[in-house]
């Protein structure tokens, strides 16, 4: 068997070493053959390793010397590349700027979306965590034909009884449930930032696999009936500890009173570790409180208190097996519940959804969390990669043009013996240097951009906001490095190909063919750049116009000084007549709230208020319009509604106090209703029929107001405003409080007053009306801002490229300019010539770009607000921007070229 060092040294020495080792082995074998053999092979490996290491060191030293210090090595090429780039400062600055901008934006986007798309969930064995959605099999169809765009709800939350039943059916898994809510603030200072609160069961930390880094809940924290708001024991997030409590070590036991009048607040009992993300897709939670059954839940264990359920599965249990166990548990729970008769007023579907669930959906928690955000951020990430590719294409175009102009130099190098590999290496290094510099600059810009971006993220991007830290980590650096390499390779392919294809002969005999091919090449580059710029500018212009329209869209009602609370008014068990009881309770509630100090008016509406889809068919259209597809939001409003919110009246009047008090059959309609149902006559005095299970009665129109976007989206909807006493049908209402006091103060006082008035009323959402409206457009605004920024960045990248390209190509014609001037041309004629030449290319680029844009704008249609993709003003503006950019890029070097001294120009070679 050959010894390993035979491959590392000459045979003679190898043989000598083998002999010495054999001699020593035999000597040692006299004591122990086994030990001798072990020693032999150990010594053999050691010698081979030593030889190998020495050879490798020697090889690397030779390689380094050859590459960097010897003439003709990489070092000399690198040095030449740097000198060459320094001689073309405009080109170098353009390339570095383009790469820096593209790299900064794409790296920022990567750092942001990494948390949603690529990073695993920050929990131990996160792949064992699943989300559980409970629903219903064979749900009856809605009895009333719902608008086509409404997706009927099929899922339900979970009650404590449900969770216990499911856990009993799958004891090996750990199932826990949570509920989240937004709190208005911590009661100190004005405009305190709202925080998210998560309500958890006692096995939450065990299930998620993360414990507080300090402190925690005691068992007794979960055993308290929540009849009066106490000082809640809470575990806070690391970020809240650092920001609100200054990171003090004695945070445990600190108390924050959120309502000084009632003394309610919370007491810190623990702090979560840094980087912990609360596993909710509904809110960014910074305060975790223990679940304490409310009086409602204590009375009715089937009350669904939890909105999100997740579980940790043991090794070996599949999602399918878990789902089957849970559904068996659901059946077991259902069997223990008495069958209640359906009360009057409930549809089959509605009543069935009040009953026990019997269908479970199990999906990985990673998929459930952020599921709404993933498509958006996949699109954003792809856009960032496109931006990066655009930067690379731009640079490639600039390098190609530069290569075309250096054809003579590269041809001479070939003639003097330079190999294709040397030329390719030279061009590659000339590309790599500015790309690396641009990447470094882009990386340095990423942190401030990241801070800016994270601050602008809307609240509904829950997992994203929770998962993103404005810092550069190893993953981001790797992205930059890989992007730089990925950019350097394709951007140099075409220039290298051109360089290797250079034919020396035409250069030698001064053939005009080389000049012509240079012109054609330059024209192709300019036309393609202009076309690409126009496509992206078009997209950017459309999205920027959308943003402006979004910002300009203010609702035609009063939103200042209005605090909003959404209330769920559970019916008392003794309630007999739902509608009457509801009206009486609501009036009493309004009286209670009016008595709060600082309150100028209180009103209630029952209907869509910025929380979901739109119309419901409670109001029957006139017979001539029975097939109308108009979707109408039905609002049941109380007495002060018009006074508090001041909707913009277009025609007629508002109902009087007496009419509202008596429940007179009068309504106010929005302009879309008036226009659709009574196109040719005045709507005043016309009537609409209100239909429900028990009644069908006409109501007279007394006024017309502007449409308001009452649904969750940013589109105004047709609405009918009827008297609460007559047309209310739901237990969920929205309370509007007009006040001069601070939002936090009045919100806390209102919630306490409501709870004291009736513990069955639960506040589910608070805020100001301005905030609620802003939330409705925030997602669209964010998308428009984001994609608009991309488009603007793309415009800058391509615009800078065109500018640099045209400037470079014009500057290279200095000798020609000198000859023309010497032969009698005027400077004005010269400028005109250059402008005409370039503008012809620009015109061709605009035509090509327009054709592509006409096809491509369909992809941004869904992001547009109140404009069409073919809006002529936007198209004209985009074309004007391109023409202006190219005109500036052409005029400046043209004017400079026209100032050429013919004598000096003729000396230029």
């Amino acid at each position: 068997m050959p010894f390993p060092w035979r491959w590392l040294t000459d045979d003679a020495l190898a043989d000598c070493i083998a002999g010495d080792l054999e001699e020593q082995r035999r000597r040692r074998a006299e004591r122990s053959r086994v030990l001798a053999t072990l020693w032999f092979w150990r010594r053999t490996a050691a010698i081979a390793f030593y030889f190998g290491r020495t050879q490798l060191r020697s090889l690397l030293t030779r390689l380094f010397q050859q590459m960097f210090t010897r003439r003709g090595g990489i070092g000399s090429d690198l040095s030449y590349s740097v000198r060459s780039l320094r001689r073309a400062p405009a080109y170098t600055a353009t390339v570095i700027g383009v790469i820096a901008l593209a790299m900064a934006l794409s790296t920022t986007v990567f750092a942001v979306v990494d948390g949603v798309l690529f990073k695993p969930l920050p929990y131990p064995d996160a792949d064992r965590l699943v989300a559980l959605e409970s629903g219903f099999n064979n749900l009856p169809a809605p009895t009333v034909a719902a608008p086509s765009w409404i997706k009927p709800r099929t899922t339900a939350g979970a009650s404590a009884l449900d969770i216990a039943g499911w856990q009993a059916a799958a004891p090996e898994a750990s199932i826990t449930a949570i509920r989240t809510s937004r709190q208005s603030g911590m009661g100190e200072g004005v405009n305190e930032t709202p925080y998210g609160m998560g309500i958890v069961q006692r096995n939450f930390f065990e299930t998620i696999g993360v414990q507080p880094m300090v402190g925690g809940f005691a068992a007794s924290d979960f055993d308290y009936a929540d009849t009066v708001r106490p000082v809640l024991p809470v575990v806070i997030s690391y970020e809240l500890w650092r920001s609100r409590f200054r990171g003090v070590s004695e945070v445990i036991g600190q108390t924050v009173i959120t309502d000084p009048t009632s003394g309610s607040g919370f007491r810190v009992v623990g702090v979560m570790p840094r980087g912990f993300v609360f596993p909710s897709g509904n809110a960014t939670v910074s305060v975790i409180a223990p679940y304490r059954p409310s009086s409602v839940a204590l009375r009715d264990p089937t009350s669904r208190s939890f909105s999100e359920v997740f579980a940790r599965l043991p090794q070996g249990m599949t999602d399918v097996a878990f789902r089957e166990r849970v559904e068996a548990g659901m059946a077991a729970v259902a069997a223990t519940l008495p069958v209640k008769p359906r009360p009057p007023g409930w549809s089959d579907r509605g009543w069935r959804m009040q009953g026990p669930v019997d269908h479970a959906e199990v999906l990985p928690l990673a998929n459930a969390l952020g599921s709404a955000e993933r498509p958006l951020f996949r699109a954003i990430f792809l856009s960032a990669l496109v931006l990066l590719a655009l930067g690379g294409l731009n640079v490639s175009g600039l390098m190609t043009a530069r290569g075309l102009d250096r054809a003579r130099e590269l041809g001479l190098r070939r003639a003097l013996g330079a190999t294709g590999f040397r030329l390719a290496r030279l061009i590659f290094l000339e590309a790599l240097v500015p790309i690396c510099v641009g990447a470094a600059i882009g990386l340095s810009l990423t942190v401030p951009l990241l801070r800016l971006g994270v601050g602008l993220l809307p609240e509904d991007l829950v997992m994203l906001k929770a998962h993103v830290e404005p810092a550069i980590d190893v993953r981001v650096v790797m992205f930059v490095v890989l992007s730089a390499i990925a950019l350097a390779v394709p951007t140099t392919i075409w220039p290298i190909r051109r360089a290797l294809g250079i034919n020396v002969a035409p250069i030698a005999d001064g053939s005009r063919a080389s000049t012509r091919s240079r012109s054609i090449g330059r024209a192709v580059v300019i036309v393609s750049q202009v076309a690409g710029a126009l496509v992206l500018t078009m997209g950017g212009a459309l999205l920027v116009t959308s943003i402006m329209a979004v910002y300009a869209n203010t609702p035609p009602i009063r939103t200042e000084d209005i605090v909003v609370l959404r209330e769920s008014m559970q019916q008392p068990a003794a309630a007999t007549n739902g509608a009457v009881d509801r009206t009486i309770r609501t009036r009493a509630l309004l009286d209670t709230l009016r008595r709060l100090p600082g309150v100028d008016g209180v009103a209630v509406t029952e209907g869509q208020v910025l929380d979901g889809g739109g119309g419901v068919p409670w109001w029957r259209p006139p017979s001539a319009f029975r097939t109308s597809r108009l979707e109408v939001v039905a609002q049941a409003v109380t007495q002060d509604f018009y006074r508090v919110l001041e909707p913009q009246l277009l025609m007629g009047r508002f109902p009087t106090d007496a009419e509202m008090e008596d429940g007179a059959r009068v309504i106010v309609v929005s302009e879309s209703v008036a226009r659709t149902y009574w196109p040719n006559v005045s709507p005043l005095g016309q009537s609409l029929t209100y239909q429900s299970q028990n009644q069908s009665e006409p109501f007279a129109v007394v006024g017309v107001v502007k449409d308001v976007r009452w649904n969750y989206w940013d589109t105004a909807v047709a609405s009918v405003y009827g008297p609460y006493a007559r047309v209310s049908r739901s237990a969920n209402v929205t309370v509007f409080i007009r006040t001069r006091k601070s939002v936090d103060q009045i919100t806390a006082q209102a919630i306490n007053a409501i709870t004291a008035f009736d513990p069955l009323i639960r506040t589910t959402r608070t805020g100001t009306l301005d905030e609620w409206f802003a939330d409705t457009v925030r997602p669209r605004r964010f998308k428009a801002w984001l994609f608009g920024s991309f488009a603007v960045a793309a415009l800058v990248i391509v615009g800078a490229g065109i500018l640099g390209l045209i400037a470079m190509s014009t500057a290279r014609r200095t000798r020609e300019m000198g000859i023309r001037l010497a032969l009698g041309s005027t400077r004005e004629a010269l400028v005109g010539l250059l402008l005409r030449e370039q503008l012809m290319h620009v015109a061709a680029g605009i035509v090509a770009g327009s054709l592509v844009s006409a096809w491509a704008v369909r992809f941004v249609k869904s992001y547009l607000y109140e404009i069409t993709p073919y809006d002529p003003r936007v198209w004209a503006a985009a074309i004007a921007v391109i023409v202006a950019t190219t005109a500036i890029g052409t005029l400046i070097p043209s004017l400079r070229a026209s100032q050429t001294d013919p004598v000096e120009a003729l000396r230029v070679e």
Binding site: C16, G19, D20, E22, E23, R43, Y50, T54
Partner: protein, 108 residues
């Protein structure tokens, strides 16, 4: 005019001195044993062989092959002898060391 002796590294000096100590039976094994006996330094076997080879290429050692013997698996033994240039270099180094040590009293 005499040529300056070739400069010697510290390990090269040790190897040459070990070869001198081994006398006529100076080969890889004995040189390694001699070094182990006189120094507390742990020396890699590969380093010894590479240094012997390098010193031979420099002309400071000459080697000769013995007859193949069964104890060595039928392989010949390569024995080394110090050359005159090596002796001159060693003497030069020794003089330099003695001169530098002169007058120095270092406590233990």
């Amino acid at each position: 005019m005499s040529r300056d002796p070739l400069p010697l590294g510290e390990f090269e000096q040790l190897i040459l001195l070990a070869v001198l100590q081994c006398g006529d039976d100076a080969y890889g094994v004995t040189v390694q044993e001699e070094l182990a006996r006189h120094t507390t330094r742990r020396v890699a076997s590969g380093a010894i062989y590479m240094t012997l080879d390098r010193l031979e290429k420099k002309g400071l050692l000459v080697s000769s092959l013995s007859e193949p013997v069964a104890e060595r698996g039928g392989r010949a033994k390569r024995c080394y002898k110090v050359t005159k240039p090596a002796l001159a270099a060693l003497k030069h180094s020794r003089r330099a060391l003695i001169s530098l040590w002169d007058g120095l009293e270092l406590a233990d």
